[in-house]
């Protein structure tokens, strides 16, 4: 704040206005002719193809995809976890009880400490939307998806997503997101290519991802 009372905020805004008065181009509409935008529907792929593509792209990331019926979620989840010797599993506070079969030790998130989260074997959550083209899954951290740290510290992530939640393109996915809520997009495990362009998976964040794809 300079002595005259002009703040940097004032100064920067004034510079912007002067610059735009001098040099701004004409107003223009945003041309939205890309796939999935507004009235331009994505290609006429049927639901089966879309879900098939979603599965393929997840496989490219070495994520396992298991198709289940709704009444099979709990049993299948327990089977997967125990087969991988993952016993201590964190779940969000709003995670459906019906998803928790006997076998693993289910730890509900009630402000769990970082130390606890660091020591569990995995996390299981719901999801908000899946994007087939990129094999991405978006969470909006609602009751069944949990705080962001839950899907960050554990080394294994099990995501339960319904076929009805899978769309083909990113614009379609955005149409389903609530702009007022936080979003985290996952597209495979963390990765780096910083050393000689060799792609290494699993830097920080879960290295292993399994997806339960729920069909009605």
């Amino acid at each position: 704040m300079t002595p005259g009372g002009i703040t940097s905020r004032d100064r920067v805004l004034e510079r912007i206005r002067k610059a735009n008065l001098r040099a701004a181009g004409p107003r223009e509409a945003i041309p939205r002719n890309y796939d999935g935008a507004g009235s331009h529907r994505a290609s006429v792929q049927g639901k089966d193809e879309v879900v098939g593509l979603f599965e393929t792209r997840l496989h490219d990331y070495d994520a396992r995809v298991i198709r289940v019926r709704r009444d099979e979620i709990a049993a299948k989840a327990a089977e997967l976890l125990l087969a991988g010797n993952r016993r201590r599993i964190v779940v969000p506070d709003g995670s459906p009880m019906a998803w928790q079969a006997d076998g693993p030790e289910w730890i509900r998130d009630h402000e769990l400490s970082v130390d606890v989260l660091n020591g569990v074997d995995g996390v299981m959550t719901a999801a908000t939307v899946g994007v087939a083209v990129s094999g991405s899954i978006a969470l909006q951290h609602g009751a069944a998806e949990g705080r962001r740290v839950l899907t960050l510290l554990p080394d294994y992530q099990l995501c339960v997503i319904e076929v009805a939640q899978v769309v083909e393109t990113l614009p379609e996915a955005f149409a389903r997101l609530d702009p007022a809520r936080p979003v985290t997009f996952f597209s495979g495990p963390s990765a780096t290519a910083d050393i000689e362009m060799a792609r290494i998976k699993g830097v920080h964040g879960p290295r292993f991802l399994d997806v339960l794809l729920v069909e009605d």
């Binding site: 940097s8 905020r9 100064r11 920067v12 805004l13 510079r15 912007i16 206005r17 002067k18 610059a19 735009n20 001098r22 040099a23 701004a24 181009g25 107003r27 223009e28 509409a29 945003i30 041309p31 002719n33 890309y34 796939d35 999935g36 970082v114 130390d115 660091n118 083209v133 991405s136 951290h141 705080r147 962001r148 740290v149 960050l152 990113l170 996915a173 955005f174 997101l177 702009p179 007022a180 936080p182 979003v183 985290t184 997009f185 996952f186 597209s187 963390s190 990765a191 780096t192 290519a193 910083d194 050393i195 000689e196 362009m197 060799a198 290494i200 699993g202 830097v203 920080h204 964040g205």
Partner: protein, 494 residues
Amino acid sequence: MSLVQIERGSHEARAHDAHTLDPRTASPFPAAAKIDLRDTQLRRNVARATDTIQRKRAALVEEKTDWQALRDAGAAIRREALTNLDRYLLEFEERFQAAGGTVHWAANASEANRIVLGILREHEASEVIKIKSMTTAEIGLNDFLARHDVAAYETDLAELILQLGDDQPSHIVVPALHKNRQQVREIFARTMGLPDLTDDPEALTAAARRYLREKFLRVKTAICGGNFLIAETGGLAIVESEGNGRMCLTLPETLIAIVGIEKVIPRFADLEVLLQTLPRSATGERMNPYNSIWSGVVPGDGPKNMHVVLLDNGRTRVLRDAIGRQTLQCIRCGACQNACPVYRQTGGHAYGSVYAGPIGAILTPQLEDMRYAQSLPYASSLCGACYEVCPVKINIPEVLVHLRARVVDRGRRKLASLFDQERAGMMMMAAVFANRSRYEAAQRLARTAQRAVRHGDAWYHWLPGMAGRWTETRDLAPLPQQTFREWWQQRGQP
């Protein structure tokens, strides 16, 4: 620096300059390039890295049948943001603060640094973890913090390598691409105390993962940049691959984001375009591993103290130039660097700026109001490959030529220009081209002059002065005995 030293010790020679990514003190591009061109390791690494990303990008672009539509939309979105920049920044500020965050405005780099330090002092923080941010490199934040007894730990693998190895980034997206695995192993073994560490990239990454985990769980304050600010929701978007970003924006109590004012986009839904073009352009992926979008403070989830520092630092200067302002559309994907045949030969350090390659060549001089980095607009053969790949359609060649004119026009006002060889030559040629008789006389004069030094068809292996730069590596054919127009006039009308 002796010739022998340049030939043999280019690593040492470069390390000497390695800290100079300050355009005010960096060597002009031709001089810096000359040194880096002799680093065979660097050239191999840069070529491999850029080829790899280019190949992946090309495959994905071919697959994306609406790619041009996405570029058109992305360019229009970015232009709209700039045209209404004040409005969108104010909208962002209101919504971000309504969500419990705090917005600060920094007119320049030193103010931004002071604001950050102020927040750190408020929370008695003597160490911070950082997500890679070009903006923080631009303002020299780490050095500033170090001078004020605050330790800043880089958490991106490449930035970690550079920090522990006391080096500088050479690429926007793959900053340590000039380093090979043996060099990384040596750095980690020494600084992390791991003498038995191998140079296998998996092992190196695992070492970094363990080393950083300790910091993520302990340090309470984080500093980051921002890929996008969203006006409509007061949102911040962080695009990353390694997960260190999510660590920094989830675990600490305080998060400070330093973001250039040009990063704002109007609507949440605009991300549906940019999150398609950015990952494909930057790393040749359909989507990068993690994207985090949120606004202000998320209750019970993440930092309690959220700060955004909006940085001008010359951006409003760029905005003033009708042709140059498109530079601010940049979303920092690095595709132009990967496509650039000049960058391919030199890597990033030669540009003497945090921003290298084609985007650096147009952004850096403009941020400095054309007082510095004047050699950068000339560090290009104007091939146009950058424009072709830019996801937001910045016409980089157009801006490069425009900035050359600004450099020349600055020079015109100076007395020294009267003695400038290039300017004299250009003025003379303009006069020669101005009319036919002068032009034909000049052609004849050149031929006459040549007869004095040349016989027959012998090519030139050496020429004096500026022309000698050609003959250092290339021969030059002698002027033909007859110009086209002489031939034409001789043949008469057919």
